[in-house]
Amino acid sequence: MQTENKSWSFFFVPQSNILEDERQRRFVLTDASVSVSSASPYYRTKLRGLYTTAKADAEAECSILRHALDKIAEIKSLLEERRIAAKMAGVYSDGDPPRKTMRRGVLMTLLQQSAMTLPLWIGKPGESPPPLCGATPASSDYVAKQGDKVAARVKTTDGDEQWILAEVVSYNHGTNKYEVDDIDEEGKERHTLSRRRIIPLPQWKANSETDPEALFSKDQLVLALYPQTTCFYRALIHTPPHRPQDDYSVLFEDTSYADGYSPPLNVAQRYVVACKENKKK
């Protein structure tokens, strides 16, 4: 995961260079247009040729970068496959002694890492962000894959309902029900839940600079993972992320505070989803 994170920052660098190049080209264009009327047909043709080459170069560079991003996504999915396989092996082989549960602190760090390494959506010009990018919801017929992280509404032992962070085990198309595992190994519970009790987590970060519409806006009601826990709670967006790597700042509903809301706390894009019910509990 670490190396992957590094590769991301690496690929951002050429990205900005492209923009820089683009700006220079535009500058050339305006510069040229002044004299274009007086330019001879020869220079006009030459200029057009240069533009065409530059455009082709930029497109080539762009496609190389996209290719690299695809590769990263591929590596990531392979890692994920391997992780799921290991998990299955752990579950189904009875011979091995039960794996020691992860210390909570380590789990929290892993969750933070996973939020940090969530890929940033970089669309082509004019392309709108796909479902599951930032605040964009999944399509109505979307089925979360095995291993995907979701917010799951479960009944707790004392009868209350709670949104927990869970991992999809399987989906039964006949009954339209998910089987999910509580992410918290201390819970170690498997739940069978209907699909309306499942909200898939974003699979891309939305870029606040290019796709601000794909982010939740201020004062919007959301479900956000309370820092250092594995539960989602209702919260209001305090400020959306300013830069792609920033977190949301949210106000959790909390009756122990005089105004009913916690002080602003940071939650990563990965762990903020739309809240369906708008009525207050």
């Binding site: 995961m1 380590v106 929290m108 760090t109 820092p227 122990s256 706390l265």
Partner: protein, 799 residues
Amino acid sequence: MSDPASQALQPRLPQTQSTGSAGSSTAVAASTGSGQGHSDPARPGLSQQQRASQKKAQVRAFPRAKKLEKLGVFSACKAIDTCKCNGWKNPNPPSAPRMDMQQQAASLSEPCRSCGHALADHVSHLENVSEDEINRLLGMVVDVENLFMSVHKEEDTDTKQVYFYLFKLLRKCILQMSQPVVEGSLGSPPFEKPNIEQGVLNFVQYKFSHLAPKERQTMFELSKMFLLCLNYWKLETPSQYRQRTQKDDGTAYKVDYTRWLCYCHVPQSNDSLPRYETTQVFGRSLLKSIFTVTRRQLLEKFRVEKDKLLPEKRTLILTHFPKFLSMLEEEIYGENSPIWEADFTMPASDGTQLGQTVVSPAAVPGSPALMKGMSSISTLGGMDTAGSEPITGEKRKLPEALTLEDAKRIRVMGDIPMELVNEVMMTITDPAAMLGPETNLLTPNAARDETARLEERRGIIEFHVIGNSLSQKSNKKILMWLVGLQNVFSHQLPRMPKEYITRLVFDPKHKTLALIKDGRVIGGICFRMFPTQGFTEIVFCAVTSNEQVKGYGTHLMNHLKEYHIKHGILYFLTYADEYAIGYFKKQGFSKDIKVPKSRYLGYIKDYEGATLMECELNPRIPYTELSHIIKRQKEIIKKLIERKQSQIRKVYPGLTCFKEGVRQIPVESIPGIRETGWKPSNKEKCKEVKDPDVLYNMLKNLLAQIKTHPDAWPFMEPVKKSEAPDYYEIIRFPIDLKTMTERLKNRYYVTKKLFIADLQRIITNCREYNPPDSEYCKCANTLEKFFYFKLKDGGLIDK
């Protein structure tokens, strides 16, 4: 001690070859730094100083015309406004510059070699100037000339720069007839308070005031001598310092060094500059930077020159001085030394005050300090000591002595030689070191407090012990933090009434260890110390919810433990509610209470439905570093095992008998196991009594028989300290039959192995402490035979 100059004149370090009455005091300094820049002409050597003053006297005795000529050399030409010449140059330079006193003074009409205007034009401003002022300027002229030489001879760049700066400064002052003032970012003396002199005198008072007057006087003299030496000591240059300490950043030292050059060192031979004594203008920070090397040089110096010392001084210096310096060293580098408090007074008063101590980030990682406490708790503003000192005053020596000296002395039999450990240490590389900071957090086997420790080291989080005060006006920041703590506690402990929390957090008898992140309180432990009862009550303990599961709670408790060890309290008691029991267990608390009830009853706040828990502290454990140390130890052992494996490498074929249906085989029948040094223990061979009650009754019976044995009398009760004062220093695990009876009652002996181990320890303790032919050992011998016979008889061990 008010007048160090007069001290300096006392011949404290007699030197047979001293050349002048004032010289003896500087003898030590004069020949130090033999390995360093010998070209330094401004060395505070006597001759240098004397030469300068001789020269000045000479110049000042010149006839006025000659004086004017000398000053003219450093005076700007005033013939016409546009003349830029800033010093008259003799058109007929004297062939031998040193002979100038015999030469005739140049005439006032003599033209300048560079601007052509007459000497009179250069010195016109001096016409109505008093003789005293002329002489002052002449003094500066001599000093400028000396500095000029210094600049040329000096090889060290830093020093050279300073000399050059001073040279320019003095030149400017002669031109403008002003007083030299060192300007710039150096600040002005004193640079730190209390100064070294005060600190060292406090040290004498702190450590030796209990001694008899004569011995106290001796220590006082040693301190004077030490201060005197420091005043004439030549500091190492910043580059030497960097080289020695292996620190890249010697900025702080360089600033101190420059100050020392400008205010202390150069003025010794250059009296145009105002002079200050090193020990009066510098404080602990400079002493910290120079003490190690200075001590070494000083002792070496004394050793080499011991024959030159007066006999009575020789004993003083050779026998007491090293010890004196070692003790001083502890206070200089020690973390909580009171001698540097601004308002140090001998600890006597009681009463809680508003105290704030800072727990600073741990020192250099991976340094040799690893085995000692690395995090330091230093006191801010000197407010915390008064309340706590009565406890620490005497007791603090004990644990320190234990950790430092015993660590070397107590070496277990069959222990690995230190060289081997060091060698292995060299080969261990931190696996996280290469992979950037984030990976540290990722390792699933990282210690619980690893992240918190790292964050503290990076300054992300801070720990402060704070409290309210009724007698002193409280610092606003501390009050803000107390409010923050009250908020955190009341949010995290919703079942506690807010008013109750407020009352205790702001109670001056309670203190709180606060965890600060970004200037805000995010957690803390409120506690009340009962020094007279020898325990501390943990009152509230919480970390704000969105900062939990980061190891802060563990790190908080570890800091609290270290704080209490420093203050000589080794027991924590707390009433834990059902949610807190888990936390306290992880922090080493147990429901088994060792503090006698009489000591805490009526002191500690009793809570309905909560469980009393206790934690006993071991003063030898550096708690904040413990998990780190254990991790290192594991690595060392792993490496040692690997080494051993590579030495006796032999691969045996795997065991096949289990496949054939065998369920169990004796351990010793595993091929190769004996070669590793494993020995079968005869106790394990006989089968364990399964039923705990059967075992209990057997052991009870056996113990009763042993207690009635005629030779059991020395072992009936714990050894009294009054009878054998050093017993508990020698015997680390004392045990006796009474204690064993209690343990039996408490169902401690869940296996016979534990019981036999305690019995055997009675015997081995006795043999360790007493001579073999003593009565006690004879008793031990017969008793040992007796109980082994009984053990066999009872079928508890094989015959």
